[in-house]
C-alpha cells in the first residue's frame, strides 16, 4: 500500500514535472518537437516503485497532462500506465541493473514505445497528424531527452518512494513489490 507520505511526495514530484513540462520544456524544440517528461516520469516511477506505484504515477501524470492537451482525456494516462507497468515488471523480473547504461537505455526505449503507442491510439481515436513522417522526429527527441534526464527523474522518484528505493543507490536494490 502507498503511505500518506509517499502520496504527498509523489504529488509534489508530479506537480513539479508538470509545471516544468508546461513551461521550460515547451521552449526546447528540436525539429519542431519538444521533450515529454511525463512519459519519462512514468518510466522512472515504474523502475523505482515497481508495477503498482509506477502504474499509479503513470496514470496520474498522464491524466494531469491530458487536462492541457487537445487530445482525448485519458489517452496519455493509458500510455502512462502501460510504460510504467512495463518498466516495473522489467525490474521485478530481476534483470541486471548494475550497468550504468541500463537506466538511460530503458528510458529511451520506453519513451519511444510510449510515443508510438500514443500516436497509434490517437490515430485509432481519429486524431490527425499522429502517424506522419514527423513521428520519427518526435520519437527521437522524446526518447533522447528522457534518456539524458533519466537519472534526474529516478532521483525524484526515489525521493517520492524512499522506502522502496532501499536508500542511496538505485542500482541493485529491491523494488516495492519484492520487499519481504
Amino acid at each position: 500500500m502507498i503511505t500518506a507520505r509517499e502520496l504527498a511526495r509523489g504529488l509534489l514530484v508530479l506537480l513539479l514535472v508538470l509545471i516544468l513540462q508546461l513551461t521550460v520544456v515547451l521552449e526546447v524544440r528540436i525539429g519542431g518537437a519538444h521533450p515529454n517528461l511525463i512519459v519519462g516520469l512514468a518510466i522512472a516511477a515504474g523502475l523505482v516503485g515497481g508495477t503498482e506505484r509506477g502504474a499509479l504515477m503513470g496514470f496520474a501524470s498522464g491524466l494531469a497532462i491530458d487536462l492541457f492537451l487537445p487530445t482525448p482525456l485519458g489517452l496519455s494516462a493509458l500510455v502512462g500506465i502501460a510504460v510504467a507497468a512495463a518498466a516495473g515488471k522489467l525490474v521485478e523480473a530481476g534483470v541486471d541493473r548494475t550497468n550504468p547504461l541500463f537506466l538511460p537505455g530503458v528510458a529511451v526505449l520506453g519513451s519511444a514505445i510510449g510515443v508510438i503507442m500514443f500516436a497509434v491510439l490517437g490515430a485509432v481515436l481519429g486524431q490527425p497528424d499522429t502517424l506522419t513522417i514527423r513521428l520519427g522526429a518526435v520519437v527521437g527527441v522524446v526518447a533522447i531527452a528522457n534518456g539524458i534526464l533519466s537519472y534526474a527523474l529516478v532521483w525524484l522518484c526515489k525521493w517520492a518512494f524512499p522506502e522502496e528505493s532501499g536508500g542511496s543507490a538505485w542500482r541493485g536494490t529491491l523494488v516495492a513489490g519484492d520487499r519481504p
Partner: protein, 279 residues
C-alpha cells in the same frame, strides 16, 4: 518473489486504471458527455494558468539572455532585416491609408463585414503546441474577456486559427495548420473562385481542396477567407500564399499548397475577432 495475492492485486489495480482511462476517453469522444471532460480541462487551465504565467515570467528572461548570447550574430542580421521591412511597411501604410479608408466606406455601404470594423480582443500567447501532434496555441484571455468558441484569431499578417476551447482566463486556439482545421477560401480577380484549405499538421503548411484544374492561379497568390454561409469566419482575412500548384488529371482538381499568411512562429500577441456567422 511476489506471491499470487500480490500479483492478483497488481493486475486488478492496472485493470481498474485502464478501465478508468478508457471510460474517460469514451466520455471525451461522445458529444453528449464531452462537456464534462471539457469542463475539467477548463478548471485545470484556470487553476494552473497563473502558476504557468508566473514561472514563464520568471524563466523567460534567463532563457532569452542565453538564446541572445548564443544567436547574437543572427539576431543582429535579423534586426537589420526587420528595420528594412518596417521602412517598407511605413511607406506602404502612407501610400494606402487613403485607399483603405475608401474601401472601408464602400464595404460598410455594401453591408459586408470588414475586419477593421469588427470588435477584437487582443491577447498574449501563453504557450504553443502543447502536444507534439497538434498545432495549437494557448492565449492569456478567455471567456471572462468575451472570447467564445468558434471565433477567428488573427495576427502577424493573417488568419492564425479558430478558438476551440475556453476557460475563464485562457483560450485554446486551433491553428490553421492543424490537421483538423478546414477553412473556406477564395481567390482570383474578384475573389470568386473557392476552395477549402486544410491544415497539414504542426510546422507544415496547408493544402487547398476542390480547386478546379482550370482555375487561374499563380504561385505567390494570396487566398482569403470566403465568408460563405455556413462558415463562421468573416470574409477577406488573408489565409495563405500559394506555395506550389499543379493540375491533377486524375481528379480534375488542382493540387495546391499554401504557406500561412501569418507567421505562426512569431505570435507574441493575437487578436480574437468577435464575429457573427454570416447570414
Amino acid at each position: 518473489m511476489a506471491g499470487p495475492r500480490r500479483t492478483r492485486r497488481r493486475l486488478v489495480l492496472i485493470a481498474v486504471l485502464v478501465l478508468v482511462s478508457v471510460t474517460l476517453i469514451t466520455f471525451d469522444a461522445r458529444s453528449g458527455t464531452s462537456h464534462i471532460t471539457s469542463g475539467l480541462k477548463s478548471i485545470a487551465h484556470d487553476v494552473f494558468s497563473p502558476l504557468i504565467s508566473g514561472v514563464n515570467d520568471m524563466l523567460r528572461p534567463i532563457g532569452d539572455f542565453f538564446a541572445g548570447a548564443v544567436h547574437y550574430g543572427s539576431l543582429q542580421s535579423e534586426n537589420q532585416h526587420l528595420q528594412a521591412v518596417i521602412g517598407h511597411l511605413r511607406l506602404e501604410v502612407n501610400q494606402t491609408s487613403a485607399l483603405r479608408e475608401k474601401v472601408r466606406e464602400l464595404t460598410e455601404l455594401a453591408n459586408v463585414p470588414y475586419l477593421g470594423t469588427l470588435k477584437t480582443v487582443t491577447a498574449p500567447m501563453v504557450n504553443y503546441n502543447l502536444s507534439n501532434f497538434d498545432a495549437d496555441i494557448t492565449i492569456g484571455k478567455g471567456s471572462s474577456s468575451g472570447i467564445a468558441n468558434g471565433e477567428p484569431v488573427v495576427g502577424a499578417g493573417g488568419l492564425v486559427g479558430v478558438v476551440v476551447a475556453t476557460s475563464s482566463t485562457t483560450a485554446t486556439v486551433q491553428l490553421i495548420t492543424d490537421g483538423r482545421s478546414s477553412i473556406g477560401v477564395s481567390f482570383g480577380p474578384k475573389n470568386q473562385t473557392y476552395g477549402v484549405a486544410v491544415g497539414e499538421g504542426p510546422g507544415a503548411g496547408l493544402s487547398v481542396l476542390y480547386v478546379s484544374a482550370l482555375a487561374h492561379l499563380h504561385v505567390g497568390e494570396m487566398m482569403y477567407t470566403n465568408g460563405l454561409a455556413g462558415g463562421t469566419l468573416p470574409p477577406d482575412i488573408p489565409v495563405g500564399r500559394v506555395r506550389s500548384m499543379h493540375a491533377n488529371v486524375a481528379t480534375g482538381f488542382m493540387d495546391v499548397t499554401l504557406s500561412p499568411a501569418a507567421d505562426l512562429s512569431q505570435l507574441a500577441y493575437v487578436d480574437v475577432v468577435e464575429a457573427e456567422p454570416p447570414l
